[in-house]
């Protein structure tokens, strides 16, 4: 009898402990939330991104000394590890106080799921509608509401060139090609000279290249129409752009699918490749390698119908059910303030979203980006979630990989892109 009672007791306790242990794990995912702290969830855990975040935190501590900053950065996979974790946390109803997301269509899933809330009143309170350019506000607004505050802006459609490699092949690095055709001719010349004409990495960098050629060939209005349905993905203009894309891919390094973007820019620095199309975060790689702009490396936009600024921005949100919305508001205040934007963008290598920040301190490349953002037509990036939702982008990446790997021909590729657009535009 004694022994049996003991058995009952232990098994009962075990069951209870087991259930408690399993049930206890939700609600304590990370950061204690509440109180006077703000948990900021980013994938800025290394390199210039980390330097930017550190600079931002310095300004935050100064502006809001009473609120404690909790770093919720998750490293790995160019943000994919962080997005994965964020997805589970939001699903489980355990959001951070604020999280980093690309401004634009990438936010649609969070908006549809009711996971982030409208921050229009914060815009009014902080006077941000006057501080940000009209074209940017347009891009941030969805159905009359604004869901995030941008901290910085990057440019996606920059062609980088190695001055030494170009000169060796008899191309003058100081004068950029005047048209796409001239650029393609240069690629032929470079191939004949025995270097890799254009370096590229895995699928997403190929999508980055694709969007650059689409912008150049279609012009701003044509390109922007791809996403609202006014330009058909099956149109002849897109066929031309895809033909150019096919030619360019034919001139790239064969080991592209195993590389990420730093490996591709490194080929320019090592002198084995001439050109690379990548966002302007690549400028940090050239600077770190000790190359000087113009003498060591050159940059220009892919020439086309219009002068276009390929746009993407990092921004911060206010999640539904954030433990400490006051802390979030303080964080949004700092990242949108002139001081915050200056410190952050100087360190990260991007440009401020505000128009009233004194950019005299910025290095040469960023100056040109500031001018271009103010003057040129603005097109949202596909590869960086500004133009398309996550599902649409993933489908485009898959189709692009299938095409560049050689599994589909151009017609099938264009058909796939058309089908994907039809599925996602609805």
């Amino acid at each position: 009898m004694r022994r049996r009672n003991f058995l009952y007791l232990t098994s009962g306790t075990l069951a209870a402990v087991g259930l408690v242990a399993c049930g206890g794990s939700d609600g304590s995912g990370g950061g204690d939330g509440g109180g006077d702290s703000v948990e900021v969830f980013t994938w800025w855990a290394a390199g210039s991104e980390k330097a930017g975040l550190d600079a931002l935190v310095e300004v935050f501590v100064e502006q809001h000394p009473d609120i404690e900053f909790v770093n919720g950065a998750v490293a790995g996979g160019a943000g994919s590890a962080a997005k994965d974790m964020l997805q589970s946390r939001l699903q489980a109803g355990d959001p951070p106080d604020t999280f980093q997301a690309h401004a634009g269509a990438e936010l649609n899933d969070y908006i549809d799921a009711g996971q982030i809330v409208d921050v229009s009143d914060i815009y009014d309170e902080l006077g941000l509608r006057e501080a940000f350019p009209e074209s940017l506000l347009e891009r941030l607004t969805a159905d009359g509401a604004i869901y995030s505050v941008p901290s910085n802006i990057h440019r996606s459609n920059v062609v980088w060139g190695s001055a030494a490699v170009l000169t060796d092949a008899g191309i003058d690095p100081a004068t950029p090609p005047a048209s796409v055709d001239e650029f393609l001719e240069q690629l032929d010349t470079l191939a004949a000279a025995g270097v890799t004409p254009l370096s590229v990495g895995a699928a997403w960098t190929q999508v980055n290249l694709l969007e650059a050629i689409l912008m150049a060939d279609l012009g701003a209005a044509g390109y922007n129409g791809l996403f609202d349905g006014s330009t058909g993905w099956d149109s002849a203009e897109v066929t031309t752009a895809l033909t150019h894309f096919e030619t360019m891919i034919g001139h790239t390094n064969t080991d592209r699918d195993g590389l990420d973007w730093p490996d591709a820019t490194q080929q320019l620095i090592d002198g084995t490749a001439a050109y690379n199309v990548m966002g302007d975060w690549a400028v940090a790689a050239f600077d770190e390698a000790g190359l000087a702009p113009q003498e060591g490396y050159v940059y220009f936009e892919l020439p086309g119908a219009d002068k276009i600024f390929g746009f993407l921005a990092d921004s911060f949100t206010l999640p539904e059910g954030a433990p400490n919305p006051e802390g979030t508001k303080a964080w949004l205040d700092t990242i949108s303030s002139p001081d915050g934007q200056l410190a952050f963008n100087l360190a990260k290598g991007s440009i401020p979203a505000r128009t009233d920040v004194d950019t005299a301190e910025f290095p040469e490349y960023q100056q040109t980006a500031v001018t271009s953002f103010a003057e040129d037509e603005i097109c949202s990036s596909i590869a960086h979630g500004a133009a398309t939702s996550v599902g649409w982008l993933n489908a485009i990446s898959d189709a692009t990989s299938q095409f560049t790997a050689g599994a589909t021909d151009l017609a099938a590729y264009q058909q796939a892109l058309t089908d994907i657009a039809a599925e996602n535009q609805a």
């Binding site: 098994s11 195993g258 990446s397």
Partner: protein, 314 residues
């Protein structure tokens, strides 16, 4: 206390007798039974249900838009796409190469190291070591080795081939569309052959020396001894090795992700598709791929379990 209550009928005696016999053990295993029931079989059921819904967006996943049951539509849709059929074909090729490679290499090493050679123990350790490395870590190194550049810009194994004058062996490795996945089976075989070797060595050791001596006394040649005496006794070892390697292969994800990239068409397998669907908020298709994987593994494991059960009853 139930024990002091008067017993009124024979049926109750029967019930309480059963309760006494099975109650305490049942109660003892009930925690694990409940946990396994909820967290394995319950969630499997949940997954199966999810795979038969039209839960394809973030809004539906969070209950902002209705979800309806669509039956087998997702499965039909998946198999209708060329991309998913390609994933399944890749999985099949990968598993075949991984299985055959690891079994053959493992057996050869075990067969060589079974005899008391000088340094045999050392090589056993050497061959077993790769298993101690995580797939992610070895995957990064194999990504460099399996670089697909040829000619002047070659590196990794292609460079090695050039250096030793075997230029014709250069190939794009995993960047071949149809057979690229076989290149990824190479590191998998490298990592798991040592484990298969250890299993076979244990199997060989389990064959009593008397049996070998008896075979030799009867004039059996070395080949006959292996074929007629030792191999039949290795069946359980072969079965476990097959099942372990095959189910690892079917679930392969980390090795492929660290050598290739998730979006790369050449190296797509269902596990990668499942991950991509999940990150696009397409939970229904993700669950459908998961269920297909479970079914494929079950085709392999269930006969094995039935076999094991019959063996143990004998």
């Amino acid at each position: 206390m139930p024990a002091v209550l008067p017993v009124s009928s024979s049926a109750e005696v029967f019930v309480s007798g059963k309760l006494r016999r099975f109650g305490p053990p049942l109660l003892l295993i009930s925690p694990s039974l409940i946990l396994v029931g909820v967290f394995i079989y319950g969630l499997m059921g949940q997954n199966l249900w999810m795979s038969m819904t039209d839960n394809h967006s973030a809004a539906q996943a969070n209950g902002r838009e209705p979800i309806s049951v669509v039956g087998l539509e997702n499965y039909i849709g998946l198999f209708a796409t060329e991309a998913f059929r390609h994933s399944m074909a890749n999985l099949l090729l990968f598993t075949a190469a991984f299985l055959i490679g690891a079994m053959v290499m493992g057996f050869l090493w075990a067969w060589l190291l079974e005899r008391p050679l000088p340094g045999g123990r050392f090589f056993q350790t050497v061959y077993l070591f790769p298993m101690a490395i995580s797939f992610v870590a070895s995957g990064v190194v194999w990504r460099w080795l399996l670089n697909s550049n040829q000619g002047d810009s070659a590196s990794g194994l292609n460079r090695l081939f050039q250096m030793v004058g075997l230029d014709f062996l250069q190939n794009p490795w995993w960047n071949n569309i149809t057979f690229g996945i076989l290149a990824i089976a190479l590191p998998a075989v490298w990592q798991l052959s040592g484990y298969v070797m250890a299993l076979f060595l244990a199997g060989f050791r389990g064959v009593p020396d008397e049996l070998r001596e008896a075979a030799r006394m009867d004039g059996a040649t070395e080949l006959q001894m292996y074929r007629l005496v030792i191999f039949p006794q290795l069946t359980p070892v072969v079965m476990s090795a097959l099942v372990i390697i095959a189910h690892m292969s079917l679930k392969s994800f980390d090795l492929i992700m660290s050598i290739s990239k998730p979006a790369n068409y050449q190296t797509k397998v269902p596990a990668v598709d499942m991950f991509l669907f999940k990150s696009s908020y397409d939970y229904a298709n993700s669950a459908a791929v998961g269920t297909i994987l479970l079914a494929v593994v079950a085709v392999l494991i269930v006969p094995y379990l039935i076999h094991q059960y019959r063996e143990s009853r004998r």
